[in-house]
């Protein structure tokens, strides 16, 4: 593949500090217009090759378990012809001009499973450009034809004479070489790293306790604080009696905010003890009587009204009129908490002339901006030290925890680490929205779907998080998985009704829009197969002639799962197919349902076509992870409100799947030369419908409301 790298495109080189070679590049395809206009070019990520040969990648993406600290360097190392171990990472500072994610509208964020997708072309191009310039520098020094030189293992070699120069020796000269007009990227058959199971670079530190997460930050003199926020969203502190709390040994200070109280101490044990000793009277505010059912009722009602048209194909009204069979159903999914293993926390040190923040967060510039806004300091006086994230799942795409820490730190002399208890973490999360869905379909005489109507009501996270991307009543996230289906549906109509629930904040949650839509669509597709008295896989396959990649993963999953082989009574198999995050996936799940409704997931077989695989080790790990995450939510996940308060508080009533409940998981990766698809979330959204379709196969019970809980019980 030859790639045009003229000035109109997106590469430049300049001398790096210390005489090295610095390559700036854009991490995506969204900037050609600006470049075409000849505007001054601002790169948004950097390779630095020092005269010592050290290769530094300034990483715009944060590591929260998804393996990005390994897969992104692989792209550079592949084209640069260096060992992965030679690439060192530096975390990018907050700077959206330089490090904005082109697949997230230029917001510097790690999310939506798109780090590899956004980096795939530009990082390889940057590596290839650096390599080409290093070769040119060597050829010039040796006075030979660059074509007679080649790069290998971090050095340039001239085979005819056996001469060699290491990259570090060439870096200064390479920086003065002209940027090549075009570079040739490797063909897939030439890949040495891409497609091989690379060892994660962060593993050693994660097995011996040396990995440093935000919660581990310990600036000198740091105090530890924990807090109680108004138990009802929107409530205020009415009064605080802190006399007993102040008497607790090692408690140093009580900080009162409008809607929260914090106890500052020498250690978290004392802070928690002090918090328990506080007597706080709250003014609950307008949501004091809010109940989850009121919100669901509101959505159900809203789903009767027309909404914004997300997709229309053909004419469902006339198709429905001619249908032989009509199928209707309503679905509902609950609020969900993120429950990252590392509870929310942030360390802040506010001085008169500046502010320092220590945190693990998916949106560093927003962390910086809220600290500046809260303190009134200029942006450049706020320094953010980013850390490893003990889980993200969308929770750390929010900066409410940073704001809180800064508010508290403004009243504390010296640095203070604000650590939320697990109860606070679950009860003051920002939640995956609840949705209510209304569907109808018409089948022809052979059972094929001739009309598909889907209307759903719920919160748009995008409308708050990235307002410019909410247009005409729609956003690309809330509708993903409900539109552009893999199936050939001749008449299809999808509407979205935005309803923001009162008294509970909503946010992105692993697998975002598809976490809701794929459950609904794949469940309803199963209902259609049942109505047509056809096998769920055969029924789907007949609709996939124009989606060969979807058909291939479906067939592979069916074959590997032994679809159709007899099962004992009370055991069933279910299937789901999806195209989300630019990845095709099919899951076949096998469940055993006891008479009391207890569901045991025995086995999940997953076939995936995520295009070119960068690190198969990570792909497999992310699918296992995503499936466990999705099954956890589907089986038990539910956040409810009573009297305006979140009912659940810790892992006893917001339960996680555990070792003894973990099914066998088999992952089959389809070989593909297509561009890479996202992997961080796709396993999650595919898990719920395969599970509930299996419960239907085992029991005849159709689960239309999550979580499953005890709905499968024989009544």
């Amino acid at each position: 593949m030859s790639v045009d790298l003229s000035r109109r495109q997106f590469l430049s080189a300049s001398a790096a500090l210390g005489g090295g070679l610095l390559i700036g590049f854009r991490t995506g395809a969204a900037h050609t217009a600006e470049s075409a206009a000849g505007a001054a070019f601002t790169p948004n990520a950097f390779i630095r090759i020092g005269s010592d040969g050290q290769i530094v990648l300034t990483m715009p993406y944060v590591e929260m378990g998804q393996g990005t600290y390994t897969s992104i360097p692989m792209l550079i190392a592949e084209e640069l012809e260096v060992d992965l171990k030679q690439v060192r990472l530096e975390h990018a500072p907050p700077d959206e001009k330089l490090y904005g994610n082109p697949l997230l509208g230029g917001i510097q964020a790690t999310g939506n499973s798109n780090a590899v997708r956004a980096s795939w072309q530009p990082l390889r191009q940057a590596g290839a450009t650096a390599r080409t310039m290093l070769v040119s520098a060597a050829a010039k020094r040796w006075n030979v034809d660059p074509a007679s030189c080649r790069a290998q293992s971090g050095e340039v070699r001239h085979a005819p004479t056996g001469r060699r120069l290491k990259y570090g020796q060439l870096a200064a000269e390479a920086a003065s070489m002209p940027v090549p007009e075009s570079v040739v990227l490797k063909r897939p058959g030439e890949f040495k790293l891409i497609g091989t199971p690379a060892k994660r670079l962060d593993t050693p530190s994660k097995v011996n306790g040396t990995a440093v997460y935000g919660i581990d930050a310990r600036p000198p003199g740091v105090k530890i604080a924990t807090l109680a926020q108004s138990p009802v969203f929107g409530g205020r502190v009415k009064s605080v009696d802190d006399s007993k709390a102040k008497a607790v040994k090692a408690v140093r200070q009580i900080v009162r905010l409008d809607d929260a109280v914090a106890v500052v101490a020498d250690h978290m044990g004392a802070a928690k003890k002090g918090l328990a000793a506080l007597v706080i009277e709250w003014d609950d505010g307008p949501h004091a009587k809010l109940d989850t059912q009121q919100i669901v009722d509101q959505l159900e009602k809203a789903s009767l009204n027309s909404g914004a048209v997300a997709q229309n194909v053909g004419n469902t009204d006339s198709a429905m009129a001619s249908a032989v069979t009509r199928v209707e159903a309503t679905y509902q999914v609950p609020f969900l908490a993120h429950a990252t293993m590392e509870p929310m926390n942030c360390t802040a040190h506010v001085r008169k002339d500046g502010c320092e923040i220590w945190v693990g967060n998916q949106v560093i510039p927003r962390a910086q901006a809220t600290a500046a806004k809260t303190t009134g300091l200029p942006l450049d006086k706020v320094v953010v030290h980013n850390h490893l994230l003990g889980g993200g799942f969308g929770r750390r795409l929010e900066i409410d925890g940073v704001t809180r820490a800064v508010q508290i730190a403004m009243q504390v002399d010296g640095p203070v680490k604000v650590v939320w208890t697990r109860e606070e973490d679950i009860q003051h999360d920002m939640y995956r929205p609840t949705f209510f869905d209304r569907l109808s379909a018409g089948l022809d005489g052979k059972g094929a779907p001739v009309a598909w109507n889907h209307r759903f009501a719920g919160s748009s996270v995008i409308a708050r998080w990235g307002p410019p991307f909410f247009k005409d009543g729609l956003d690309p996230d809330t509708t993903e998985g409900a539109i552009d289906l893999v199936y050939a549906l001749p008449n299809m109509h999808v509407e979205y009704v935005r309803v923001e629930p009162p008294g509970i904040p909503t946010a992105f949650w692993r697998s975002v829009g598809p976490s809701h839509n794929v459950f609904v669509v794949e469940s309803f597709m199963d209902e259609l197969a049942a109505a047509a008295k056809q096998d769920p896989i055969a029924y789907r396959r007949a609709l996939l002639d124009k989606a060969p990649r979807a058909k291939a993963v479906l067939e592979l999953a069916a074959e590997k799962a032994g679809w159709g082989k007899p099962l004992p009574k009370g055991v069933g198999r279910g299937v789901s197919v999806q195209h989300a995050f630019a990845t095709y996936m099919a899951q076949v799940t096998e469940v055993e349902v006891a008479k009391d409704g207890a569901v045991r997931v025995r086995r999940v077989v997953c076939a995936v076509d995520c295009g070119t695989v960068v690190n198969p080790n990570t792909v497999q790990a992310q699918i296992q992870s995503g499936i466990i995450f999705g099954l956890t939510a589907a089986l038990r996940g539910e956040i409810t409100l009573k009297d305006g308060r979140v009912v659940q508080s810790n892992f006893h009533d917001y339960q996680m799947l555990r070792m003894n409940e973990t099914p066998a998981i088999e992952v089959y990766i389809v070989k593909s030369g297509e561009a890479p698809g996202g992997m961080g979330e796709t396993g999650t959204s595919a898990a719920a419908p395969a599970l509930t379709n299996a419960i239907f196969a085992a029991t005849g019970k159709r689960i239309r409301r999550l979580p499953v809980a005890n709905q499968a019980a024989v009544t």
Binding site: M64, G65, Q66, G67, K199, R200, D202, T203, P204, S205, K206, V207, N208, G209, T210, V212, Y213, I215, D216, R218, I224, V248, K249, A250, D266, H267, M268, G269, A270, K272, K273, T340, M341, E342, P343, L388, G390, G391, G392, V419, R422, N617, A621, Q624, S625, G626, I627, I628, F629, N650, F651, H652, M656, L657, R658, M659, N660, T662, A664, I665
Partner: protein
Amino acid sequence: MAQTLTINGKARSVDVDDDTPLLWVIRDVLGMTGTKFGCGLALCGACTIHLDGKPVRSCITPVSAAGGKRITTIEAIGATPAGKKIQQAWIELEVPQCGYCQSGQIMSAAALLAAKPNPTDSDIDAAMSGNVCRCGTYVRIREGIKHAAKKGT
């Protein structure tokens, strides 16, 4: 009142209330941050340490219960034969993802392996089901324990 703890073979003096959970003494007072906070109620296992070689949840274990006992944390588990094998298996099988719960997973797994060099699946279920992993690394944790067990004693 001041008391002396033996952590990873070293004597350390701390002055905290007797009922202070060991977790906070280890993390905040002594500054050893490898042991993690997850729930505070012994529901997730992130804070698992060893007291005289037995796994305990440090978030509900008062400091007064540790007097005269040997405390071992993730920072030193590699010095035990079982801990070293578990850590090695975790690296070879690429177990951790976000990694936050893995200190606790490794402490539980090391205690299991020390007690049962060839654990069965049900042994693994029994020993490991108190440890939550939100990244869902359970499949590889199970493989990792079996991998470590194969290396023998």
